[in-house]
Each structure stands twice: as C-alpha cells, then as structure tokens.
C-alpha cells in the first residue's frame, strides 16, 4: 500500500473531485500532469487507487496518448510545429537545426543536463507565424516564437541550452 507522504497527499488533493466510473480518468491524468509536470509512478498508483483501478490499467490507458509524459520534463520544452503551413516554410530544416544544436537525435529526447527538450507540436492556427515553435517552461510561460530562420533557431537553441532566459535571448 502506498504510504501517504506529502507528495501523495498533494496528488490526492489535485484529483479529489474526480470520481471512478464517471469518465474522469483522462481529466485527472491531465490535472496531475498539469500540476506536477509529468505522471510519476507514484502519481499513477495514487490515481489508480482513487479510481479503484489497477495501476497497470491506468498506465496502459495513459500511455496511449502522446500528451502524457512519464518522465520529468526538461526545464525548457521546445514544441516544434509539425503542421503543413510551417512545413512549406522549411520547418523540417528548423527542426534539424535545433536538434543538431542541442545534440539530440530525434524529437522526444531531452538534453543530458535536462535543460531542453524538443517535442512534436500540432498546428493551432497561428500559421501567419510559420515556421514556428512554442517555447515553454512548465507552469511558467508558454511563448510562440515564429517567422523562424535557421540562424534564428540555432541562436535560440544555443541560448536555451546555456541556461539564458527566453526574454534575454529574444531581445538580445
């Protein structure tokens, strides 16, 4: 049985309004990820307990969706738009430039020091900014950065990797 600790109590309080057999599971998973940044093993067990499900069931379900993460996110996440408008404006080149700058092989990975990760994003209609990315820091800010060029994206990635703030990079 999971021992109640500060962190399990915190998870319990995040999901206290969700009920079993009520179609609430996805929302509960989302709420926990939103608060904690990811779904830890502990969180999955607490959620399972609340929903009277097996932990494995909850994990099996959550792992179906790209949206859920099971590892702590990097400090800064670069969400790269994979949409068609960006694509026609060389988003693939932007992605490769960012990955190369960060020493990553593919999207979904994060730098060894946990500073930056690159994930695939979906178009949200701000195509006038194409090619674009969103730069996010969990629960701090989420910023669209558009009209990118290879040079601009390399500079941005380098800055983030070295730990500079996003404001500094964009204005500097």
């Amino acid at each position: 049985m999971p021992l109640e600790t500060e962190s399990t109590l915190r998870i319990r309080s995040i999901i206290k309004d969700f009920k079993p057999n009520n179609g609430d599971l996805l929302a509960a998973l989302y709420a926990v990820q939103h608060e904690m940044g990811y779904l830890s093993k502990e969180a999955l067990a607490v959620i399972a307990d609340q929903f009277k499900m097996f932990t494995a069931e909850v994990y099996g379900m959550a792992s179906f969706y790209e949206e859920y993460r099971f590892d702590p996110p990097a400090k800064t996440t670069i969400r790269w738009c994979s949409g068609p408008a960006c694509r026609t404006r060389n988003s693939a080149g932007i992605r490769d430039a960012i990955l190369a700058t960060l020493d990553l092989n593919e999207t979904g990975e994060q730098t060894e020091d946990g500073q930056c990760s690159v994930v695939v994003g979906q178009c949200n209609g701000t195509c006038e900014l194409a090619p674009m990315i969103w730069v996010e820091e969990h629960k701090t800010y989420e910023l669209p950065v558009g009209k990118l060029t290879a040079a601009k994206s390399i500079k941005l990635a380098r800055g983030l990797r070295s730990g500079s703030g996003i404001g500094e990079i964009l204005n500097g």
Binding site: K41, F54, T55, E57, Y59, F64
Partner: protein
C-alpha cells in the same frame, strides 16, 4: 444440447458455448492464439477462423466468438480456411523471428548448425527457450505456414529491422523478453480476469504497442505477485519461469499437491529425461484436480520445488560427534538412531520419549509416526502448532457439535456475502484469497474484512475493520451481535458498512454467505477465542447451517490429515509445550522430530533451544538441513517432498493424492520407510501398509482414484447444531508496541526452516512494518535498522513505514530469518498473546 456438424461429423454441443472449445474437445487441431478457455473471447489474433455455413458477411468466421447454435455446419479443413489462417499468421509473424517457423528443415537443425536460410543465430526457434513446447510454433505447423507464399520476401521486415526491446530479468521468478511477444494480450487478461491482480497492461498504441508491468517499470516494482498465470497462457517465449526457462521441457508429468498452505492446490511436476535433470522436477504447472484451485497456483506452489539450493538440502544422513556432524549412510544412521532410542527407553522408560510430527508431511507418514509412538509405548506426540489446531477444533465442537465442517471452499467464489478474519490471507492462503477476490469481482460479493494489517484483500472489501492485533475475536463477536458502537479503535464508517452487510440476512437469504477465519499460529487462547467468535458471527448470519458456511483455514498444508492420523497427545500424554518443558526438566530424554521445526515454528526460541540441547537423543528426519541440525544427535536424510507419495487433507477436508516423481531410487529415503525402519529396528512389527482409507470418514482408495479432488473426509450426515458461545477474551493492549506476525508469501518453509540465505529470494519481506506515527515518536525513519526490544530479548531489522499497520503495532513476517521473531514470544502464553516492544534505533 443441440446437434451441429463439424467437418461432416455430427456433434452434440451445448448451445451458447464458444465454438472453438467444442472443436478442440473433438480432438480437431485448431489455432487459437489469443483465446483462453473459459474467458470471454478477445478476438485479437484471428487465427481461429473456420467456415460456418451461411455466416455473414462471409462464411469465414472466428470460432472463438461464434457460439453454438442448432444445426450449425462448420468446416475447419477447407483450402479457403487454411489460406485465411496462413495469411493471418503471416501478419503475426511480421513481428516475430520466423525463419524457422516457415522452414521445412527445422526438425533436422540443431542449435549450432548453419542456417540454410542464412538466419541470425539468435533469431531462431532452435535457439529459443521455448523450442518444441511453443504454441506459436505448433500453430504455424498446423497451418503449414511453410507453404505460404511470403509476401514480405525482399522487403524491409519490421522484426529484423527494429532493435529488440529490453528484456526484464531482474527478479528471481519471471523472465520477460518482449521481442518474442505477439501482443495476444492473453497475459493481460489472465492477470486481470483469472488472478484479479491486474499487474500488466497493453501500453502504447499501434505497431509500437507493448506489454507493460505496473506503471511501466520493472516487474518487481509492479503489483505482480509472481503466480505465473501469465506464463501458463503465453503462447510464446516472452513470459517464462526464470529457474527453468532453459530446461523446462518436460517429458513426463506427475500429479501432486502443494503443501505450502492448507488450500492444497493440485499441481503437476514436469520431469525430463535430459542428462543432469533426472529425478528432479524441471517445471511445475497447476493441474485441475482440486476444484478449489482449478488452474491456478501461487508463487509458492509454482516455485517451491526450487526454493533452496542443494547445499541446504539434507542429502546425506549425519551423526553428531561432539560438535561436528559426520556423514553416515542412511542405513548406518538409522541403526544409530535406533540404538540411541533403545538406550533412552531402557534406562529411563518409554515415557521419556517424545515425538513431533508435522503438517508438512503426508497423512500416511503421520500414521506411521503415530504407530511408532504407540509401539514405543509413549503418549507424548504432537506437532509445534498442535495445540493451536486442537483449541480451534474444540471451539468448533462446542459451538457446532462437530469440527469436521462440511463447508466446501468451492462455495467461496459463489458467495454473495463474505466475512474474512485473518492477518493477511493473500500471503498465508493465496488460493482462498484469490477466490474471495473472484467473488468480489465476478459476483459483486460484499466482503467484510477483519484484520490488523493492510493486505491486497483490502481493496476488494466493502468494509475493512482494522483492529488491534489479538482483538479479532472481540471485533467479530461484537459484529455478530450487531452492536451499534464500534469496538475501540475501529472506524465508525467502516463499522456501519459492516453492520449493514452482516445484518441483512433477509436480503441475502437466497444467496451464499461465507465466514472464513485463519487463526494465528502462536497463541492457542487467541485462536480458540477467534474460532468461537467466528462461529457466533456465522450463527448470526446463517443460523444452524453454520457448519456449511464456516471455513477454518489451518496454517500449514496437511494439518487436518496429520491430526486425523493421530498426531496429538494420547491419554495423559504430553503436548508440545509439556514435551519442551519435560526436556528441560529431564522427564523427556529422547525426541524424534519428523519434518517439524520448533525453532522456526514455536514461540520462545531460548526455551526451545535449551530443551533441545538438554536431550540425550534428538533424532531428526527431514529433507532440509534445518536449524535443528545444530542440536540433533542424528539427522536422517529424507527424500524431498516431490520424491514422496501419500495423501493430503486440505482446509476443507478434501483428500488429495500426492505422487512422487521418483522412479524408485529415492523410495527407501521416503519418510514412511525411515519411520518404519526405526520401528522395525526397535523390534516392532512395522511390515504393513499405511493408508488414509483406514481413517474414519475417509474415502476408500478405489473411490478416491475415480473421483480425484471431489471426495472429502466429512460426516455423511449434515450437522445442524449451532450454539452461541460466551467470548471471554478481554480486549487487551500491551504497554508499548505490540508485535504480531504471520506467514509471508515469498518465503518457503524449506528456506525458512534451514535459515537459508536464499529463503526470501525476492527480498520483499525482510522488513518490519511500523506505523509512521510510532516511527516519528521513536525518532526512526524509513528504511533504517531498528531494534525491537522486549526485556532481554531483541531483534534488529530494517523497518518499512506503512499506514497499513495500526498505531501501536509492529508487523514482522514469521519466516523472517528462520523465525527470528519467535524469540520475542513466550511459550507459556503472554497476556494478550503479543509481546510488547520498544523501538530503538540500532547503532549504525
């Protein structure tokens, strides 16, 4: 029954049944890679395609989803069906190493040979642990997959192109190698629907779907309790038993019984003709003889045969010479034992001999031991837990007029209302715990749990009455009396929920109600109080049919059998405790112990040891080099349990046959032969056959062989007496922290009795459970070592902080370090039954 036609043959079948099962019963080979007999079809693999006349939209239908209807015309053998299956199979093989599966040469190839098809060595059936016992392999043969044109030839293939996923080999029981997985999801469904454990799931989506354990981590971090039900259903080499992964191909099977608890699951030992594995089981699988266990066993049943290494087995007999044990042949050692016993009898009288039997022995061995005591002329015979068992029996007798309850454990899963009183049934009696979970999940049974500690059953219960250890009887009694106020320390909400269930006799009048209790193994007063309270509670719910609805689960395997066989003190004889006191005072000089180990089983280790050290002769007959070897004067090496035959009487008094895998070599080392030879050596007539059929109410041998698993040693006439008893055990609390204990799941008797380093291979149980509040007060934190101090006695071990034990209590598994916790308990009985300890941080 309706008539259908399969391949032109008329067959009678029950309407509504799954067609695939009926086809298999007809002896027709059919592939069905995702169907599990008896469970709802999953319809994931599509390999069970058959032709059903008039089927829509096409006559090609899945036989696992199709149900029997009058006049069905089924064909499994048309070209169209075969081709359909081949093409389905080819899709499955796209994610599996398949070169051998489609190669006509496989039967001629050996693992070292060069592959004519240029296959990578490690990608072949020939080098796979499941070769020649693999369902996927036979399925491919059945559909002649080698004849199928391979649409992928020359293409990039997913199996050969993708890097294999990581295997999990981190635990001692279950190996998981997902590169062999065909995502049939049988394991997921077995764990969920057959075990109610839900340790695994299908994770991810699309072609990257994988089997995952728990929250996506390693197996031992998940809820898995290593029962191996998933291994039994896995059609490939993905899930395999670790100890026998590479040598588990059996040539022969032998029906047997697991004696690791009183459920008595029936198992079958697989044996192999391979050099090096003669005469030991290479694998254990469940066998559907006992209708209680059906096709399920727990980790102890499956891996018990392999619990200890050869170094902990007693493979040669030993003689004590001062403080050394010297190897002797069994013949010489037996003669020596006889000599020693004769000396004791001649110089001090037969009454100074004591005998201890064991519920781990067969009934026949117990009969022989009892006959030996009679021949010697000593009434002093018992087993360590004897007094516990007898005190329960006498409570039952008083309340119900019989102790041979007719309640049948197959009723548990059919029950709609259950009250369970136990410390942790999931660990002590896994087979019954499984059926209780089944009742809760399949039958929506209302379960009330009275228990001092969290267990897996908690989540299946509607009401959990977490009581102070030792007060189970009081709580059960108050519940039976429907007292409005909860006993001290019990949550009002849970109490009210329990009252609603126990008090609704009307509502449950057409359904089965069951009361299950598993007494502790240490304190007889507590056990008998619990038995009376359980009777009272049951009487309140089911009146004078109590004997049909009340279940007593003794601690060890064959407790009923050995008691029936006569392992109890005869007139004026000494019981276990008196034998020990007698050894200390000098009125017992010689002791014969068969399979029992008081150092592990009995309270008060100090007293036990001084008793054993004081004996003139201690003759131990055992198959493991138990901790008794420090005190024995002679150790007679007995054959392992799997090398012995006999019968076992389970908790619900079912008589089951246990067969030896041995072809004769070990026969003379069987317990019964050794006991007989001691008897003959002492000059008694022991040239006779011991059989359960001689015991009152036991079935005849003929009847039992015909109706294996169904016959029970109970009176013919139903007993309808039910008298409520006064429960006079006061509610007691100890001053400091109360220590309580019970049997744990992963530690085998053999391992614990020999205090083997390997006893708890999984290392899940080497901790004391301490309530976080108590830990804080004592200033100790998670994972540190603490000393549990009780006067001059103490034990030091790591702690685990857990809300699952009530404040003021500490739980330690009884098999931890060869029964180390027993030193804190007293043989004389303790007030309240439990030792009181202080928690002291151990010096680093």
């Amino acid at each position: 029954m309706v008539e259908i036609s399969i391949n032109g043959k008329t067959v009678d079948a029950e309407p509504g049944r799954r067609l695939v099962e009926v086809i298999k019963e007809q002896g027709i080979t059919i592939t069905n890679l995702c169907y599990i007999d008896g469970l709802e079809p999953y319809a994931g693999c599509r390999t069970c395609i058959v032709d059903i006349e008039g089927g829509r939209p096409s006559s090609l239908q899945l036989s696992c989803t199709a149900q029997i209807t009058e006049g069905q015309v089924v064909r499994t053998d048309t070209t169209e069906v075969k081709q359909a299956r081949q093409s389905v199979m080819s899709v499955i093989l796209a994610n599996h190493p398949d070169r051998c599966l489609t190669c006509h040469r496989r039967v001629h190839c050996m693992p070292g040979d060069i592959c004519l098809r240029d296959d990578v060595v490690t990608h072949r059936c020939l080098t796979c642990s499941k070769n020649y016992r693999c369902e996927l392999q036979t399925s491919c043969e059945n559909v002649d997959q080698g004849d199928f044109s391979e649409p992928w030839v020359g293409e990039k293939r997913s199996y050969y192109e993708t890097p294999p996923p990581e295997p999990d080999r981190a635990n001692p029981f279950l190996e998981f190698d997902p590169q062999m997985c065909i995502i049939c999801a049988r394991c997921v469904r077995a764990c969920d629907e057959l075990r109610h454990t839900g340790a695994l799931s299908l994770a991810g989506k699309g072609h990257t779907t994988m089997i995952a354990f728990g929250a996506g981590g390693q197996i031992h971090e998940s809820d898995c309790d290593f029962c191996g039900a998933c291994i039994d259903v896995c059609p490939t080499a993905t899930l395999m038993e670790k100890p026998n992964k590479w040598n588990g191909r059996a040539d022969d099977w032998t029906s047997a019984v697991c004696n690791s608890c009183s459920v008595g699951c029936t198992i079958t030992y697989g044996t192999s003709d391979q050099v090096g594995s003669e005469n030991i089981p290479v694998i254990v699988r469940p066998e559907r003889i006992n209708p209680v266990s059906q096709d399920q066993i727990c980790v102890r049943g499956r891996f018990g045969y392999d619990a200890i290494g050869p170094e902990d087995r007693l493979t040669t007999s030993l003689e004590r010479q001062n403080d050394r044990l010297v190897p002797r042949s069994l013949f010489d050692a037996t003669n020596l034992a006889v000599e020693q016993l004769r000396t004791v009898i001649d110089s001090h009288g037969a009454q100074t001999i004591g005998l201890l039997g064991s519920p781990l022995a067969t009934t026949e061995e117990a009969m022989a031991l009892s006959a030996l005591a009679d021949s010697i002329g000593t009434p002093n015979i018992d087993f360590s837990h004897g007094v516990i068992h007898r005190s329960v029996l006498s409570s039952l007798d008083q309340a119900l007029g019989t102790n041979k309850l007719s309640a049948d454990l197959t009723d548990i899963e059919k029950s709609a209302r259950l009250v369970v009183i136990a410390t942790d049934l999931e660990e002590s009696h896994p087979g019954v715990s499984l059926r209780i979970k089944g009742a809760a999940r399949k039958n929506q049974a209302k379960v009330v749990l009275i228990s001092p500690r969290w267990s897996e059953l908690d989540r299946f219960a509607c009401s959990v009455l977490r009581c102070y250890p030792g007060t189970e009887a009081n709580v059960a009694d108050s519940l039976g009396k429907l007292e409005t106020n909860p006993p001290l320390g019990i949550s009002t909400e849970q109490w009210n929920a329990a009252l609603t269930i126990v008090g609704s006799n009307e509502e449950f009048s057409d359904e089965i109600t069951s009361v299950v209790f598993a007494p502790n193994a240490i304190d007889a007063e507590m056990a008998s109080g619990l038995a009376s309270a359980a009777c009272n509670l049951a009487i309140g719910m089911v009146g004078n049919t109590t004997a049909e609805h009340l279940f007593y689960l003794p601690v060890d395997g064959n407790t009923h059998g050995v008691h029936d066989a006569g392992i109890f003190p005869k007139t004026d004889g000494k019981a276990f405790r008196e034998i020990i006191l007698g050894a200390i005072s000098g009125s017992i000089k010689g002791l014969i112990i068969h399979d029992d180990n008081p150092i592990l089983n009995s309270p008060d280790t100090d007293m036990i040891i001084s008793a054993l050290s004081n004996l003139e002769s201690l003759v131990v007959i055992d198959s493991v080099k138990s901790t008794l070897s420090d005190y024995a004067t002679v150790m007679l090496s007995e054959a392992a349990f799997y090398h012995r035959s006999g019968s076992i009487t389970t908790a619900d008094r079912r008589v089951l046959l246990h067969n030896s895998i041995d072809s004769g070599v070990e026969k003379e080392k069987s317990g019964i032969e050794i006991i007989k030879r001691i008897g003959a050596g002492l000059g008694f007539d022991f040239d006779r056959v011991f059989s359960y059929s001689a015991l009152a109410e036991y079935p005849s041998e003929e009847a039992l062989v015909q109706q294996q698993g169904r016959l029970r040693a109970i009176p013919d006439q139903a007993v309808f007496k039910a008298e409520v008893q006064e429960i006079d055990v006061p509610m007691r609390r100890v001053d400091d922290l109360a220590v309580f204990t019970s049997r744990s799941l992963y530690t085998s008797w053999d391992g614990a009795s020999s205090a083997s380093e390997e006893a708890d291979k999984l290392d899940r149980e080497g901790t004391a459970w301490v309530n976080p509040g108590d830990a804080q007060e004592a200033g100790v934190t998670q994972g540190v070592a603490v000393t549990l101090q009780n006067g001059s006695h103490s034990i030091t071990m790591k702690i685990k902080l857990d809300d699952g034990v009530a404040a003021g209590t500490v739980y330690v598994p009884s098999y931890y370090r060869g029964g180390a916790i027993m030193s804190l308990f007293a043989l004389e009985g303790l007030t309240g039954g439990l030792p009181s300890v202080k928690l002291v941080a151990a010096d680093a």
